[in-house]
């Protein structure tokens, strides 16, 4: 690891001296502390662990103050905030929380500090490889994984057990289980499988998972779009058929994570695709499905070899314009440490990006599902790691949505999406 002390310390001394001189003129002693600004999304959950962690960091770094500033609520607005402030040139923050899909884009834009020169050779090894891959662009690491997410299948363990079923391996099995359970339960309010089909990023994640479960993807290694259009069309047609045949309710086309999570949490569905955060809410004391929920990997299609949930989560990056790169890196290291991640699991239901934390014996008592979630995260796949991911997602969203509501055939949506993408990407490559 390279040391930062030499020239920086000299510079700091000069600054300090001039500040003291100024302070002398004004007749008061200046604030000699250094302030780091940490931008992050508001943490939801029983207790926000961030303030405690930051105070702990300050205690071990005398003279340093960390100011924590909230980002806007939605991911769209956060991206807009970063784009405006980072492109403007004087961001006013040092450390930033990044959605995993933005890292290559921000790296390409030159907004992030390249962390590679400072990281020890094995420093990224304890993290999930897919999370490190998502923060790697041009062979360099631009951010450290902070917390991890993966798409998974929730099922009503009580209902499946009552009908002698085990969680489905394939989508075909899931559909037949839905039919069987609903026929036997005779509850018109009981839905089959809930997922996210509103026109937004979350829907793209669902479609990508459907692609992977059918052995295809949206972007090939060589940059080709929809490399296997027939398999992609099949996957889209399958999602549409879920709605047409009533396995999933019609309102899937307006559902986001929370809408579908609440319906399942009210006991109104057998299966749900969602992120791990929902687990804590289902197991909360006042939950109607407490003790009745199981988790499993997302199913695959019968003839596909493997499936995998989409990974997500956030990373911590450093603004290239920070005046305190060494301290900012120290803060990133501290917040991504095993210690900080343990605090975040219990306080905020944010899942660790470090693999060892999943097998921590203390945590295992309060969070018995951790090892299972670990296995699913390990099998998860990142969305395409490319600086133009948002161009891709924004362009295909309406096309996929048109298939889900039955306005376009899958083939046509894929053709239209590809044509539009080629127009926008041609200038970028």
């Amino acid at each position: 690891m390279r040391s930062w002390s030499g020239p920086r310390e000299a510079k700091a001394l000069v600054v300090l001296a001039s500040l003291l001189a100024l302070g002398g003129c004004a007749g008061e002693s200046p604030d000699r502390g250094i302030t780091l600004v940490f931008k992050h999304a508001r943490i939801l959950g029983p207790t926000d662990p961030i303030p405690t962690l930051l105070r702990e960091f300050e205690a071990s770094h005398p003279g340093v103050r960390v100011k924590s500033e909230s980002l806007p609520w939605t991911s769209d607005e956060q991206h807009q905030f970063y784009a405006i402030n980072l492109e403007g040139g004087s961001p006013g923050f040092d450390v930033m929380m990044l959605d995993v899909i933005w890292v290559p884009e921000f790296a390409r834009a030159g907004w992030l500090l390249d962390l590679s020169p400072f990281l020890a050779a094995d420093e990224t090894a304890p993290f999930f490889p897919s999370a490190v891959a998502a923060a790697t662009y041009d062979g360099r690491v631009w951010a450290l994984p902070w917390n991890m997410n993966v798409g998974m299948l929730y099922y009503r363990a009580d209902l499946l057990a009552r009908h002698g079923l085990s969680p489905p391996d394939t989508w075909e099995e899931l559909v037949s289980q839905v039919r069987r359970i609903r026929a036997a339960e005779r509850d018109p309010r009981l839905e089959g499988y809930l997922w996210q089909g509103k026109q937004y990023e979350g829907m793209v994640v669902n479609v990508l998972e459907a692609f992977w479960a059918n052995g295809t993807r949206v972007l090939a290694e060589d940059g080709r779009l929809f490399p296997e259009p027939d398999q992609a069309a099949e996957a889209l047609a399958f999602l549409r058929r879920l709605i047409e045949t009533g396995v999933s309710p019609e309102w899937m086309t307006a559902a986001d994570e929370e809408l579908s999570r609440r319906a399942f949490g009210d006991g109104q569905a057998i299966f749900l695709r969602n992120w791990p955060y929902a687990l804590d809410l289902f197991e909360a004391p006042n939950s109607r499905v407490r003790g009745k929920v199981g988790i499993a990997p997302l199913p695959r299609h019968a003839r596909a070899a493997a499936s995998g949930g989409s990974t997500g989560g956030s990373h911590l990056g450093i603004s290239r314009r920070t005046a305190q790169p060494a301290l900012a890196l120290a803060l990133v290291r501290f917040l991504t440490s095993a210690r900080a991640q343990r605090a975040m699991v219990s306080g905020a239901a944010l899942y660790p990006s470090r693999q060892a934390v999943y097998h921590d014996s203390d945590l295992a008592r309060s969070h018995p599902m951790l090892p299972r979630i670990h296995a699913m995260m390990l099998a998860g796949r990142p969305r395409p790691v490319t600086p133009y991911y948002l161009v891709l997602s924004t362009t295909v969203q309406p096309e996929f949505s048109a298939v889900l509501v039955g306005l376009k055939s899958p083939q046509r949506a894929i053709r239209d999406g590809r044509r539009r993408l080629e127009h926008f990407l041609v200038s970028l490559r």
């Binding site: 884009e105 509103k198 600086p387 362009t395």
Partner: protein, 290 residues
């Protein structure tokens, strides 16, 4: 013109000059900058900045997503302004005719109007909830997929907008009603006019001018509508609620294609200016504007 008048005129110009300069800087400069951006390929993330001429406009002219957004914007504007006008006048008349409960009615109207659009959107998200939403449970009685159905989504967004902005029309119209001298109605009564006749020949003609101004404001707002659809549907499903400003936002802040997004912005700007100009002409004919 006498020299005194000329001097006074010059002084007047001098006095408004600072205001005009500030206005020119605040509105003129950004407008010109956006126009200039729209003639370029400008994608900062990829370090792309080159002159593109009218390429973005040419692409938009053949872009079904653009024409769809333009159509949605037009339909949204027409339907929401018309409904707001009719309902606003009805509510104003009801408030005027019924002194009892007027204060409560007023507070409720102001509440709807004062609420930020994003809060309104969140509220309606729950009202439209497919299973538990008030609209379905109380009004429709069946589980309509309001925000996820390509036919229902736009009406659902329009309804939310009408709920939010109808009070603006209602309060303006009500204020005008208060200034109509009661002698007019008394005289009409003496002449044996029916209540409907009085509405038709006295009230509505006198409301006309204030309503034209209300419609001007509402139309300009509706053409730029963004926040309701952005929060409620994200422009979906299948772009059926994507307005021009939502499309511009996607281009500017998500795809970070500043030139392309600006081109859409310029088109919205021209649209707004055209609407404003047409209304101003109309108002001038009414003697309402200089």
């Amino acid at each position: 013109m006498t020299s005194g008048q000329r001097a006074s005129r010059r002084r007047g110009l001098l006095l408004v000059a600072p205001a005009l300069t500030v206005l020119a800087l605040l509105t003129g400069y950004p407008a010109l900058y956006v126009l200039w951006l729209s003639l370029q390929h400008r994608i900062p993330v990829f370090g792309i900045a080159e002159f593109a001429g009218l390429a973005h406009y040419w692409f938009l002219a053949q872009d079904p997503r653009f024409w769809n957004a333009a159509g949605t914007t037009g339909l949204f504007t027409l339907a929401s302004v018309l409904l707001e006008l009719v309902l606003g006048v009805l509510v104003a008349l009801a408030l005027y005719a019924r002194p009892r409960g007027r204060r409560l009615g007023f507070s409720l109207l102001l509440l709807a109007w004062a609420m930020p659009a994003v809060v309104t959107a969140k509220l309606f998200e729950w009202l439209y909830h497919p299973a538990a939403g008030l609209v379905n449970v109380v009004l429709v009685g069946r589980a309509l997929n309001w925000l996820g159905d390509p036919v229902l989504a736009l009406p659902a967004v329009i309804l939310a907008d009408v709920w939010r902005t109808m009070p603006f029309v209602a309060i303006l119209a009500y204020a005008r009603l208060l200034t109509i001298p009661s002698e007019l109605y008394e005289a009409a009564q003496v002449d044996g006019a029916s209540r409907l006749g009085m509405l038709r020949y006295i009230t509505l003609p006198l409301l006309r001018q204030i309503l034209m101004i209300a419609v001007l404001f509402r139309t300009l707002d509706a053409v730029r509508a963004f926040d309701l659809m952005f929060v409620l549907t994200g422009g979906g499903p299948a772009n059926t609620t994507e307005t021009l400003t939502v499309y511009a936002y996607r281009g500017l802040f998500q795809m970070l294609q500043l030139g392309f997004g600006s081109a859409i912005g310029v088109i919205v700007f021209v649209l707004v200016m055209t609407v404003a100009w047409a209304y101003l002409r109309l108002l001038r004919r009414e003697g309402l504007a200089a």
